[in-house]
Symmetry: C2
Subunit: 127 residues, 2 copies
């Protein structure tokens, strides 16, 4: 229901600066500010439950998943799942909307792509 994108991520995917050579992280040293912005994003996916939640949501038919589709995959209580979803949402990795009784979550593909771009020296094949 909210949307937030971090500055460091805005620049990562664009064709602005030296995007063709290699991963920013391997190309030139991260500044303290950049690292401070990136670390929370990696922290958000640095948990087995959240990693699976993100994957389940991203892979789900129609690109979105109801919470009730997710809780069954884990041996955890509802509030715990809700907590992890909140962490992913606050990191900007997913977003959600309430439609009637159920709440639907979908992944924010751009953020994931940009994280990937920061890590890996790969071709930026954007359409």
């Amino acid at each position: 229901m909210s949307k937030q994108l971090l500055p460091v991520l805005e620049a990562a995917g664009t064709g602005q600066a030296g995007q063709a050579c290699c991963a920013p992280l391997v190309c030139e040293p991260l500044s303290g500010t950049e690292a401070a912005e990136l670390a929370p994003l990696f922290k958000a996916i640095a948990d087995p439950v959240r990693l699976r939640l993100l994957s389940l949501i991203a892979c789900h038919e129609g690109g979105e998943a109801c919470v009730c589709d997710l809780t069954g995959a884990f041996d955890l209580t509802g509030p715990t799942i809700s907590h992890h979803l909140k962490v992913l949402r606050q990191a900007g990795l997913i977003d959600c909307e309430r439609r009637g009784t159920w709440v639907y979550y979908w992944a924010n593909p751009g953020v994931l792509e940009r994280l990937s771009a920061i890590l890996g020296p790969r071709v930026t094949a954007m359409a």
Copy 2:
């Protein structure tokens, strides 16, 4: 000074299964086992200090950096830097060797690439 590669990472970069379509994470749901293997790797880079350390090492001239090159960049004590380097090393992201008085660290590029591949739907342009 040790080397360890995780099974889930071995498969990620190879041309084995569906690597051309999209990121594994977005393609099909991560199993509990896969998530449990990946999460610690992301946890290793989910810290501003370690992220900068990794970047500093990877970018350093000659591909390797002495600990004395690294400590100056942070407002932290030696033991703290050493601790973070140990975390990165145990995750397999970096490796080190003692040469005389100094200890040199270098990045393990493959692991980083494979993490990138898991996150991002990008072309695997490997030579």
